[in-house]
Subunit: 424 residues, 2 copies
């Protein structure tokens, strides 16, 4: 491969990150917390100049005709800056996962064997124009003893630079290496291509963005990724569902927020339950103008609903991220599990039932990162699960699965405490 | 890509494995154990015909001029067949990891959140001409609720076919799908290329073989791997080492077996300890004709040792797998850790010391899959660690690290037990 300037720059960045990661791996909890609080203080103190930098980005984005939704994500406010700082303070308050030793047991040979939680090393984070990710990701990587290389959307470049300065200041205040968090400041897109193909310097990539970006990274990456492509989440309303719970959960899972990956996209209803539950549920959806895409049986039951369409196979595999819901009537639990294991993106799926055995079967047999009984899929979230913070969500099976917090940025090595033992 | 017959065959195999994996994932512990014991019984019963099949392989291998060491690995005996059957019985006796729920806790929202251990799905195992791997790997995959696709060396084809028949018989006896363990019977090397590039059917690849094989697979695989390339393991004898322990452990780690990945390849000795420990240690190595490759200081101390050579940088990165040992004198702990984190293959490294603080620092700061105090590196092994069995060893940081047993063939999904909760 040709040694372009951008390759040179990224490899230099990677080398510095690797060196910094060695220092971060052995840093005291107190030092890491001091850095986090110092960054929070600097972000609060410099809110005005952060807003100014953000304004430069926004002006350029407007001039380039960026979509309103993207402008919205890009914009900082006094409130969102305060939230960033609070996020760092919350991460400082979380227990330090690094160094924890578990399962230390004596073996017949005399040695004691256990496992110690250790940082992964260097985390590469690739994200779009959301300045808050810069601070959140930096905070999580610092606390988990990793070094980070951050590559945000080029639309947020001024703001990210301004934030990077505060992060470096906080690290320096705690005597930690400034290279522990590096923000890639070149707008050159080739930087991403380099970042995902230097396994000698980067241990894991966390891509946060649309399906298109992540699919492209998946094809090209030579570094393992913690990622999910999409969230095609299901709720199955069983014969034995409690009507009140079914209505509340199925409404909440679709309508509480449309654009999130843990929003329900397909509702499955048992044949016996369908005539009883679908009409009152449709009344709730109607108030929110939810479009329903139904299989023939549901179609018949819901005749007269204002925005009703016939579902095609395409609907079972679509993440709408919009007020649209696919509905299918199934024979029972077996067909529901089969539908989910065929079409779900293995993100989050929930059953509504009062039947003990079916609840247990659903939990065991549905092969998704989060499986639920009588709860809204919207709960699949690091904060709701008690992880304290979230760097992303993984639909993969290796390493972390589901919402990924500090622990997902670590792994476990074996520790052996001996007393001079030798192998026989 | 062209749809060759071998691609067609492998995709068909993958599809069947995926279907079987769904059944295996929900199979009772009792059924899985029944299959394991039935396979063990069939292997014992048919020892004579297994030996016959093996004889066909051996005859062909001799005719092809296979090296004696490889012939040795390929050969089955009455004793090795009994060992295979015992291995299966031991796996049957291990606790079933699948379905275990941990950390189930109430959250402020009212939901209960925990993690359930579940199979990975389909495991592809690529190995050389060792028929015992066929049975061991099949056993581990069955117990952990996975389906397996096994691709052994073509030199063992008759024997592997004969073993596959017994595995299928055992699965059928328990009412489990025969496709849960499929042995690739074509000698076509393209089969491996297909196996490692169908992520839709294979969740993880476990390659077992030489460094060359694994490097090639790493370049081409589109499926995550559980693997290690080599074992460049270190022992560091600290200032405060107990002489007796240092001699026993450093001798055992080098000389107990030469060809294993957890054998010590480089010995580091502190400057103050070197003049005291190296001469008596060399006396032990001399009795075993171990060649010593030394840095200048060690060279001087060991003057007169019969097979003494000057070490080059090449020696710090070589896995000898032979009666050869590299020796370097270091200033102290910092330089030892630095040497290890630079040159070790992150497999297993051990410190010999009676100093409490240095022991703790070594455990925390050495970035290897197994870190030890006062114990022989030879203990880095699934059986010695109490995993009950071992499918391989991982030097990677994501997912499993170190010896990989049943648990490494599983992952954890989140389970949420709700009571009708909705997200606010």
């Amino acid at each position: 491969m040709k040694n372009t300037p951008i390759r040179e720059y990224m490899r230099q960045t990677g080398k510095q990150a690797r060196e910094a990661s060695r220092v971060m791996a052995k840093a005291d909890t107190a030092l890491k917390n001091r850095a986090l609080l110092a960054i929070a203080a600097a972000v609060r103190r410099d809110a005005a100049s952060l807003l100014q930098a953000n304004e430069q980005d926004l002006a350029a984005a407007r001039a380039n005709g960026l979509e309103p939704a993207l402008l919205d994500r890009l914009a900082l406010t006094q409130a969102s800056i305060a939230t960033m700082a609070e996020g760092l303070e919350q991460i400082a308050a979380l227990p330090d996962p690094v160094g924890e030793i578990t399962n230390l047991k004596y073996r017949p040979s005399g040695i004691q064997v256990g496992q110690m939680r250790v940082p992964l090393g260097v985390i590469g984070i690739i994200y779009e124009a959301r300045p808050n990710v810069t601070v959140d990701a930096a905070g999580l990587c610092i606390k988990s003893g990793n070094a980070a290389i951050l590559r945000g959307g080029s639309e947020a470049i001024h703001c990210n630079r301004a934030l990077a300065t505060r992060v470096r200041e906080g690290l320096a205040a705690a005597g930690l290496p400034e290279a522990a968090v590096q923000v890639i400041e070149t707008p050159d897109r080739a930087a991403v291509g380099e970042l995902i193909t230097m396994p000698e310097y980067v241990d894991v990539i966390v891509p946060r963005g649309g399906k298109g970006l992540i699919e492209r990274l998946m094809r090209e990456s030579r570094v393992p990724m913690i990622k999910h492509l999409d969230g095609i989440c299901h709720i199955y309303i069983d014969d034995s569902a409690d009507t009140e719970k079914a209505l509340a959960v199925a409404f909440n899972a679709k309508c509480q927020r449309y654009g999130t990956c843990n929003t329900m996209e397909t509702l499955l209803v048992s044949r016996r339950m369908a005539p009883h539950i679908l009409p009152p549920l449709a009344a709730l959806y109607r108030a929110e103008n939810v479009e329903l895409r139904c299989d023939p049986i549901a179609m018949q039951i819901l005749e007269g609903y204002p925005c009703l369409k016939a579902a095609t196979e395409e609907d079972w595999q679509t993440e709408y991220l919009a007020p649209i819901l696919a509905i299918r009537v199934v024979d029972g639990l077996d067909q529901a599990i089969d539908h989910i294991n065929t079409w779900s993106s293995q993100h989050t799926d929930s059953i509504i039932t009062e039947d003990y055995s079916r609840a247990l079967r659903f939990l065991r047999e549905v092969d998704s990162a989060s499986v639920m009984v009588n709860a809204s899929t919207r709960f699949a979230d690091g904060f709701e699960y008690g992880l304290g913070a979230e760097i992303g969500i993984s639909n993969d099976k290796l390493h972390a699965r589901g919402p990924v917090g500090l622990e997902g940025l670590t792994s476990q090595k074996y520790v052996v405490l001996g007393h001079g033992e030798t192998r026989k």
